[in-house]
Each structure stands twice: as structure tokens, then as C-alpha cells.
Symmetry: C2
Subunit: 694 residues, 2 copies
């Protein structure tokens, strides 16, 4: 059967409409549930107000940044205005703005639903775990569907309107720069609040988690939403868009740009969206199921459906190639394997977490040393997995023609990200049930509700570790294909500007090596800046909590009617986060431009590779160590190695505090940092060619 | 003036004889000092006996390994025996054995002198700080002179006897594989003992450091010798030999192998040795000097003398090029800058250490988070420094002809390592005065001696952090030039075997990328294995210390005449260290061979680059974080932030315990791991070409 490109683009539009429609249905379903408990309603309102405050402040900062960046883009890209026509620069600037707006909207939707679903889930937890799971998961799915719907809609619209893949890079850059700030800002916010609340509450005063007397408790719950829902959503929106953009840039240069490869990309992404919808529909706890089992089952169903659907389409459509299908299936398969490896290192059902818990009986230094060491070791399977899938995809597609090999890698990334709707749903489920647990505690919903919420929360943590490994690996493949996009773009620019075609970046070229060494250090410095931001910010917040306990009479004793000043904690977390994220983000952007204008396009190629390699390593290490420490603490809290309050528990709490910014601030932000740097390099390649010193 | 190669080789032999003669003189000078205090004599004997026990055990394991490896080399290298003549394989195997033997001898000399100088330094500390400094430093210098003397003698002999630069790579591989095990084994031993002694002594029982009741105290002092003297010496012997070997391999292929470039290498190394001797001669405390100042002054004098002497020779000898001088001066200059940057991050005279100390008042999690973050940041200046010096050296020499650019980088490494005699002297000074401090405590030499020894020890720590940064950077440049050597060797092999010449490794070649991702994970896994070794081993040792305090009546109370069983702690540390080091070393070797035989020479090129880039990053991070935590703890112990016993101090002790294996086991071992992997790749390049799967 022969089918035209226009058909697939129409299908893409249709699929994203279906995704939005289903999201609206789920949202209405969740919203319809009536919350009865007044206490929950009022706390829920506080969380919602806090999240809105932060998002408003954040978006205000980002709006300024976006406008400045858009203006610079208008002046410089795709070429300086004096050497380019005004319309292509305007298109570029507007595509950039569109990227930020689409990402912001997806984030906004996520916050909207998660602050509605949290109270409903808490209430449902009083009834049964099964119904609470359904509410929590459907809430998360709204976010998942919005992210894939928005990314597919955005990419398809930009391509349909401008017909330019360079504009697509601009759109992707918009999504990335928003994600950089949303992930970093949200990450700093959430860990500032989490660490401060734990430090004063659990460690100093010995009051339970989510105790309403704790002035940081609302900020902590707000943090779950702005960090894990909005931040993580922006991150995966960004990866998804970048993977599509990279694949489309390369597809448009294959075989003189005939539409079949572009059609393939759209078709695969569309089928991924449909698979995710089917996966979401099948999610449910059943009679004897566990939440972790239910989440994993849906993920596997999505994976299987995607593989089958794409195989069917490849069999039907004449020009679709099995090699491409193979590349994308390899990507997805390796993604699942990496998820399992991550699970092995971070789930307390396996030996590693238990070993770390056991070593905590000898003191916190051993908790840290073991966690760092196993975190290092855990990077190996994922690195091998990414390496093997990239190599396999390349080799599979190499025979199809010039440029197909690199396109194969981008299709592996698209394959890995095909289930992104499911992944985001799982991810957003986490903070919703985490919030529900807090609401159950603060609203005195009783032991059963607390127990149900606890189990749902723990499943959220386990799944989060896996999806994080998945997200990092997907980003790895994406940025490898962005490297291909960089080469592609660079040579287009070189031709336009009358430079020689650049065929190869040699490993032993010292300019390349120069870039590589500096590029490798960037993720380390970037993540350090974020962690220092958390530490600095937490210091301020702890001081504020101390002040409140000192000055507000009756607060510590829990006298009825005495409430802490939640808003001041939220303001501290928000103000600090926005301050710190800007410097970290600007550092990453500035050093890329610096290396580019000093060392030129060769140095930048090395810079990208160094950045990717060390960035993946550090991201995997930090995410996995953090997850490991978190679960070691939970494992001890479940009664092992002396249980709560034992020396081992104290040591594990220290490990968890170190791990918090590792896994929720620094580690996953590195993804976005890599993507931003890759896109800047592609977009500025013409300027680097023309104006660099060396 | 025209001078022949033979002249420079004769000069090199002469210079190494001078180094040995001066070392013998200094050794005799130290030995002549008569130790009077019986207690010190007996403790000194215990330390010596313990060190000898470990070295004997270690060398026995290494002898077996060396023989097996030599046999494999005989069968396979430079080409499998059936396709090669027996003499070249025998030459290779014997060169390998010679490399291990020379390294072992240097290590043995170091242990010999350090276990003599420690008692003499302790005794001198009773008299004055100045005389104690002289004894300690002269002791250290014996090791420094032996290391450079042995490396120069070994390289010159191999070249004079075999005339083959490939044999030189075999010699270098021998030195590296010994260093890998000596550094890793010594590093595990020393930190096992250190952590266990501190954990039970300082933390649990509250008895002072080096208290003779502590069963681990002798093992701790033995550890300083086997880890910092023998291990660090083997490490720098290895780097020095590798830098020379890389430079000579490339020099022999330049301009059809005319001798002038080989002469340049020998001349520069010889002048470096002479500069180090001059630097050592000028060392002294003077009337108002501080130990740190004295050590740094000697280092700067050595640097200055080297730059002047090499400039003079370049001016005199007709065929010597100023560009080469520039490359080597750049290397040395950047080395000094990197040392200063390291000092900024790890010396309590600057703000970073103080910040970490201050953050410790909020608890150990903050100590760790800040230390990790600043450790990450501290990698940036060094990475930029290495990048800039490699690029500058390349650009300087690029105009001299084909292949000169890469030779320039190797000369930058030679330049950076020119002062290695001084560096090793400073490094070996550290454990000698550290031991002296222990002896002063155990021998009751009084407050003044203890205070003097304390200050000398603290200078040793500061200088150690700087030299470590220096050593890692030098190794960085060395391995970049080994990459050049790999290319050189590979093409020699390709020609011999009838393969096409390989001109370029492309960054975007997926086989290269495949190797790169795996190579990047190796240093992380390798260092994790070492750290886990320390943790596991320390667990055993702590149990043994507990047993002794429980079972030996009167030990805890310090009843006169009751002594702990020091030997059993030494045996635990030694046995565990040897067990763990073998698995970590074999992992590094096996994965290199695995990637090579699977992915071939392209994958190996990527593997090397990934390994270098992530290895440098992690080595710098771990060494600097460790140094930072160590000095933050010392800063608090000097009275800041509440002083000894405060909560901040407890947090800082936890940081220091984490930092110990970071900085003394894992971080500096990564150097050696990279060198070994680089040399294996060069040596096996022919086999990878012939037998790889892809």
C-alpha cells in the first residue's frame, strides 16, 4: 500500500486531538469526585495556592528570559539579520517562543490536575487501595497525555506551517530552555523544602513526616508538584521533541528529502501515542495486584502494543523499512532492559539496597561510600545498553543508503521515547500519591488510609527510579542523534557560507580534544551549582522554620488552632530556586558559546561529545545513588536493621538527605543541560563557523 | 653546536647515576642519626616489620601475576609467536618484566628509607621543627631521587639494549601493571587501617589518634608507608616512564627517525632530574619559614631551574627547537597553575574549606553535599588547564612537520613531569612526618615534639593535595600522548599485517561512540570496586579491633605492659587489600580486551578517549573532595566552628571518612588504570586488528 506524507501528518494531528480529548475526559472524571473532608480541602487549597505562586513567579522569570532569548535569536539565527531575510529570522524566533509556550502549557496542565487529584486520591485511600490507585493514576495520565499530545501537535504544526526543519530545532530549543529552568528550578524548590522539612521535623523534633505543625510541610507538598510533575514533564516534553526534531532534520536530508522518512517518524510517534493510550486504559489494580505490578504491567503492555503496531504498519506500507522498525524496537527493548537494571540497583527487593541498609549500621560514612560505589557501578549496564542500541541501530540501517545509519540512531531514540506518555503518567502518579499521603496525615484520615497511601507512594518511588533511568537513556540516544543533526546542520551552513564541507571530526584532533575535556566538566559543574543552590536555600529555610517554632506560641505543642506560616517557607523556596537556577542555566549556555567562539565548530563537536559522555555517566550515577539511598532508608523504616530510630536509620536518613538533590535536582537536570547544549551548538553552527577565533 | 644522540644517552646514564649517588648519600645521612628513645625504636621496628610483611605478600602475588603476564606477552606480543620471531617476543616479555622489577625496586627503596626516617624525624621533632623538617624531607628525597633515577635508567637501558620503541611500551606496561596493583593494593590497605583505627579509636572510644592501645595503630602507620610511599611512588614512576615512552615512540617515527627528537626527550628528562636535585638541595626551613612554604619554594625553584636549563640548551644545541621548548614549558606552567587551583579548593587558608566546615554545623549531609559539589567544580580549572596546554603544545609544534604536533603534546607531558623528582620527594615526606607524629604520640615525646610533628604533618597534607592534582594532570597529558602512540603503533601494525592505514577516528562513527560510552564507565566502576574493597575490609578490621578490646584484659584501661595484637590487624588489612585489588585490576584489563576483541581498533580508540575524559574528571573530583573534607576536619579541630568534639566536628569526621578512600584509594588509582588501559590498547592493537568480531 502506498500512502502519502500528508496522510501521516493528518494522522498525527488526529492522534494528538485524541490524546487531548482523552486527557480532558480523565480530568473531568477526577474532578467530578467530590471531596468531603473539610481539612483536606483546606490543605489542598494551600498546596494549590503554593504551587500556583511558584509557577507564576517562575513563568514570569522565564517569560523575561524567553523574550530576551527570542530577540537574540531574531537578530542572529538562522543567520545574522544583515545576511538573512527577516522572515526566516522571525520564523525562528517565533518557533522558539512556541516551544517554550507549548512546554509551559503542558506544565501548567500537569500542575492543575495534580493539585486536584491529590485530595481525591487521599479520600479514595480511605475506601480502598484499588480506587485510590485509579484516581492517582488517572490524574497522572492527564499529564502524560498532555505531554505527548502537545509535543506531537507542536512538532507537526511547526513543520506544517513553516516547512523548515531548522525552525523545528528552534521549537525544540524553546522546549529545552524552558525545561532547563523548569527542571532545575522545580528541582531546587522541591529538595529545599523536602530537606528542610525532614531536617527540622524528623531529625530535630522527631515529629512525623507531613505533620501539619511543620512550617515547611506545605512547601514540601508543593515541591512534589512543581519538581516532579511540572519539572519532569517539561524534561520529557523536551526529550520527546528533541528526538522527533533530530529524526526529522535527518529525515529531510535523506534521499533528497523524499517524504517517506518524515512520514515514518510521524507514524511511529503517533503509534507510540496510541500505545500509551491503550496502556493507560488497561491500568488498574485488580483484586490481588500491587501498585508496582500494575504500573509495570501497563508499561509492558504499552511496549508490546507499540512493537506490534509498528510491525503491522511496516508490513502494510510499501516504503516503510524493516530496518527502521528494527532500530526503533532495539531502542525500546534496550530501554526496558535499562529500566530493569535500574530496578536491580534501587529496589529493596534485591540485594544492593539491603547491603547499603546493612552497612548503615556501621555509620553514615559507610552508607555514603556504599551508595556512591554502587551508584558508580550501576552506570555500567545503562552505558553499555545505550552503546549497544546505538551501534545496533546504526548497523541495521547503514545499508539503506547515505545518512540512514545516523537516522537509525534517531529512530532508536524515537522508539525508546515511544512510550513516553506512559512514562510521564507513571511519573506524575508519584507526586499525586505522595501528596495524598501528606493529606491523609494532615487530615487525620486514619491508619488504613495512611497505610494505603504509603504503599501507593512506595510504588511511585520504585517506578520513579526506573523511569528516571529510562529517561536518561532516552536522552542519551536523543543527544547522540542530535550530534548527527549538528553535523547535518553544520554542513548546510558551511555550504551556504561558502566553507568547505566538514566530513569528519577526528578524535585525535587537539581542538576536538580541547572541547571534549571542557565539555566533560560542564555537567559536573552544572549539577554542583544546583546542589549548592539546594544547600544554600535549605539553610535559609531551616532558619525560618526555627524562627517560627521559636516565635509562634503553641506551635511546637500542637495547640489547636495554632498554624505555622506556610507561605513564608514557600516564598523562601521559590525565591532561592529562581535565583540559583538562572546562574546554573546561564553557565551552561555561556560556556557553550565561549567554547564555540574560541575553538570553533571542531571544538564544539568535541565539547558535545564530552558533555554527552560525562553527562550520561553522572546523571545515571546521581539518579541511581539517590534512589538507592531513598529505598535503603525506607527498607530500614519497614523494620530492617533495627528499624525507625535506630543508628542505622539515622545513618540512612543522612544518606537519603544527600541523595535527595542527587536524584531529584542534579541528576535528572543533566539531561536537559545536554539537550540545551546540543541544540545551541546546532543553531549557532553557522556563527561559530564564521566568527570563531581558532 | 651539534651534538649526537649517543651523547645525550650517555648524559642520561650519568644523571641517573648522580641521582642514585645523591640518594645513597642522603640515605646514609639519615641512617647515621642515632635513635635514643627505646620506645620509639620498638614501635619503629613494628612498623617496619608490618610494612615488610605487606610488601612481601604483595610482591609475591605480583610476581605470580608478572610471570603469567610475561608468558602471555611472550606468546602474543608484538605478534603471535607463530607469525613473529622468537627474539622479539622474548625481548618484549623481558622488557615487561624489567618494568615491573624497576618499579618494585623503587618501591622497596622508598619503604626502606621511610621506615628509617620516621623514627629519626620523631626524635628530631623533640629538638626543633627545622631539624625534623630536614630529616623528613631528606628521607622523602631518597624516594624521589630513586624514582626518577630508576625511570631514566630503565628507559635509557631498554632503548640502548633493544633499540626498539615497542619494547619501551612493554617496559612501560610492566611499570604500569605494577603501579596498578601497588597503588590500588596500598590504597586499600592504608584506608582500611585508617578508617578502622579512627572509627573505633576516635569515634567510639574517644582515645587520641595514634594511641598505642589501639590494635589498628601500627597498621595505620604501616599503611602510610605502603600506600603513600610505595603506592604513590609506583604511580609516578609509571607516569614518568609512560610519558617518556610515548614521547620516544613518536620521536622515533618523526623525520624518518633521525635522532634529534629522541635526543631532545632524553635531554629534557635529564635536565628535569638535575633541576630536581638542585631543588632538593635548597630545601630547608630557615629561621622563620613554614614547612609548607619550604616545600613550595623548592618546587618553584625546581620549576624555574628546569625552564632556564632547557632554554639554555635549546639556545646552544643547533637542532633543538624553541617550539618544543615552548610545549614543554607550557606543560610545566599549566601544571603549576593546576596545583594552585587545587590548593584553592583544598587549603583551609581559602574560603572553600571554611565554607564546608561551616556547613558541617548543619549536619553531615551538608558536609557531604558541599564537598561533592565543590569537588565537581574543582575539576573545571584542571580540565581547562589540560585542554589548553594540549592545544597550545599541539599548535606550537604543528608547523615543524608531520607528526610533530602530537609529539608536542607528549613534550608538554614530559615538561609537566620534569619536576617529578621534587613531587615524589614532597609526597614521600608526607607519610614520614605522619609516622613521626604517631611515634611522638606512642613514645610520649612530649607536647613540643607533638606540636612540631603536627605542623609538619599538616604541611604534608596540603602539599599532598597539590601534588595529587599535579600528578593527575600530568597523567592526563601523558595519556593524550599515549593516544598518539596508539595511532602510531596501530599503523605500524596495520602496515605489517597488510591492513589499510587508519588515518582518522571519527567522533560520529558509532563503533567509536560505542567504545567511548563503555570506556567512560570504566573508571567509575574501577574506583567503586576499590572503595567497596575498603569498606568490606574495614568491616572485618573493626570486628577484630572490637574482639581485642573485649578479650584482652586491661587493654582498654591502658594497663602497663598490656599490648594489643597489632599483627592480626596488619594481616587483615594485607589479605583483604590483595584480594580486592586483583579483581579491580583484572576488571580493567578484561573489559579493555573485551571491547577490543568485540569492537576492534575503532571501538578501542573511542574506549580510550572515553576512559581518559571521564577518568580525569572522576580522579580530580575524588582527590579534591577528599582533600577538602580532610582539611575541613583539621580546620575544625584547630578550633573553628566549635572545635573538637562539637557536632560540626562529628559531621566533618564523617566527611573525612568518606573522603579517605576517595582521595587515597580510588581517585589516584584512576591514573594508573588509564595508563594501563592505554598501553594494553597500543600493545594489542595488532591482535585487535586481526581478530576482532566487528
Amino acid at each position: 500500500m502506498e500512502i502519502e506524507l500528508a496522510f501521516f501528518i493528518r494522522m498525527a494531528f488526529l492522534a494528538s486531538c485524541i490524546a487531548f480529548a482523552y486527557a480532558i475526559y480523565l480530568c473531568a472524571w477526577v474532578k467530578k469526585i467530590k471531596v468531603e473532608n473539610q481539612k483536606i480541602i483546606s490543605v489542598g487549597k494551600l498546596i494549590k495556592a503554593g504551587a500556583d505562586t511558584f509557577m507564576r513567579k517562575e513563568y514570569r522569570v522565564l517569560a523575561v528570559f524567553t523574550l530576551v532569548a527570542a530577540f537574540i535569536i531574531f537578530l542572529l539565527l538562522p543567520a545574522p539579520l544583515n545576511r538573512s531575510d527577516i522572515w526566516s529570522n522571525l520564523t525562528m524566533a517565533l518557533s522558539y517562543v512556541a516551544g517554550t509556550v507549548f512546554s509551559a502549557i503542558a506544565g501548567k496542565i500537569g500542575i492543575y490536575i495534580s493539585t486536584i487529584a491529590n485530595t481525591r486520591t487521599a479520600q479514595a485511600a480511605q475506601k480502598s487501595m484499588g480506587s485510590a490507585f485509579t484516581v492517582g493514576f488517572r490524574g497522572g495520565s492527564v499529564m502524560g497525555l498532555s505531554v505527548v499530545g502537545a509535543s506531537l501537535l507542536g512538532v507537526a504544526s511547526i513543520l506544517a506551517l513553516t516547512g523548515s526543519t531548522t525552525a523545528l530545532l528552534g521549537f525544540s530549543f524553546g522546549a529545552s530552555s524552558l525545561a532547563l529552568f523548569a527542571k532545575a528550578g522545580g528541582g531546587i524548590f522541591t529538595k529545599t523544602a523536602d530537606i528542610s522539612a525532614d531536617l527540622v521535623g524528623k531529625v530535630e523534633l522527631g515529629i512525623p513526616e507531613d505533620d501539619p505543625r511543620n512550617p515547611a510541610v506545605i512547601a514540601d507538598n508543593v515541591g512534589d508538584n512543581v519538581g516532579d510533575v511540572a519539572g519532569m514533564g517539561a524534561d520529557l516534553f523536551d526529550s520527546n521533541v528533541a528526538a522527533m526534531a533530530a529524526a526529522l532534520v535527518m529525515a529531510s536530508n535523506l534521499d533528497g528529502g523524499n517524504g517517506i522518512n518524515i512520514a515514518t517518524v510521524f507514524c511511529y510517534v503517533t503509534l507510540g501515542l496510541i500505545s500509551s493510550i491503550i496502556g493507560i486504559m488497561t491500568a488498574g489494580l485488580g483484586k490481588k495486584g500491587t501498585p508496582t505490578g500494575a504500573l509495570n504491567r501497563s508499561t509492558y503492555i504499552t511496549t508490546g502494543v507499540f512493537i506490534l503496531l509498528t510491525a503491522a504498519v511496516t508490513a502494510i506500507v510499501e516504503d516503510f523499512r524493516w530496518e527502521i522498525w528494527g532500530a526503533s524496537a532495539t531502542g525500546l527493548f534496550v530501554g526496558v532492559i535499562i529500566g530493569m537494571a535500574t530496578d536491580y540497583f534501587t529496589n529493596d527487593a534485591h540485594s544492593i539496597v539491603r547491603k547499603v541498609a546493612k552497612s548503615s549500621t556501621s555509620g553514615p560514612a559507610f552508607t555514603i561510600l556504599n551508595g556512591v560505589s554502587y551508584g558508580f557501578v550501576s552506570s555500567l549496564p545503562a552505558m553499555i545498553g545505550i552503546a549497544v542500541s546505538a551501534l545496533a541501530a546504526y548497523k541495521l540501517c547503514d545499508g539503506l543508503g547515505d545518512g540512514y545509519a545516523m537516522f537509525g540512531i534517531s529512530m532508536a531514540a524515537v522508539g525508546m521515547l515511544s512510550i513516553v506518555g506512559m512514562i510521564v503518567s507513571n511519573d506524575a502518579y508519584g507526586p499525586i500519591v505522595d501528596n495524598a499521603r501528606g493529606l491523609a496525615e494532615m487530615g487525620n484520615l486514619g491508619e488504613a488510609a495512611l497505610k494505603n497511601a504509603d504503599e501507593l507512594d512506595s510504588a511511585g518511588n520504585t517506578v520513579k527510579a526506573i523511569t528516571k533511568g529510562f529517561a536518561i537513556s532516552a536522552a542519551g540516544l536523543t543527544v547522540i542523534s542530535l550530534l548527527g543533526a549538528y553535523m547535518s546542520e553544520l554542513n548546510v551552513k558551511a555550504e551556504e557560507l561558502g566553507f568547505d564541507r566538514i566530513e569528519i571530526f577526528s578524535l585525535t584532533d587537539p581542538t576536538v580534544f580541547f572541547g571534549m575535556l571542557i565539555g566533560a566538566a560542564v555537567p559536573a559543574v552544572f549539577s554542583a551549582m544546583l546542589m549548592l543552590g539546594v544547600v544554600k536555600n535549605a539553610g535559609r529555610m531551616v532558619a525560618e522554620i526555627h524562627r517560627q517554632f521559636r516565635e509562634i506560641v503553641g506551635l511546637k505543642e500542637g495547640r489547636s488552632g495554632v498554624l505555622p506560616d506556610y507561605a513564608s517557607c514557600i516564598n523562601i523556596a521559590a525565591g532561592g530556586a529562581l535565583g540559583e537556577l538562572v546562574s546554573a542555566g546561564l553557565f551552561a549556555i555561556a560556556i557553550t558559546l565561549g567554547v564555540g567562539f574560541v575553538g570553533g565548530v571542531y571544538a564544539i563537536a568535541g565539547f558535545l561529545v564530552g558533555n554527552i559522555v560525562s553527562g550520561l555517566l553522572l546523571a545515571l550515577f546521581m539518579s541511581n545513588s539517590g534512589g538507592l539511598w531513598d529505598n535503603a532508608k525506607k527498607y530500614i523504616e519497614s523494620g530492617a536493621e533495627g528499624g525507625k530510630g535506630s543508628d542505622a536509620h539515622k545513618a540512612a536518613v543522612i544518606g537519603d538527605t544527600v541523595g535527595d538533590p542527587f536524584k531529584d535536582t542534579a541528576g535528572p537536570s543533566i539531561n536537559t543541560q545536554i539537550t540545551v547544549v546540543s541544540l545551541i551548538s546546532s543553531l549557532f553552527s553557522g556563527l561559530f563557523l564564521t566568527f570563531s577565533i581558532f
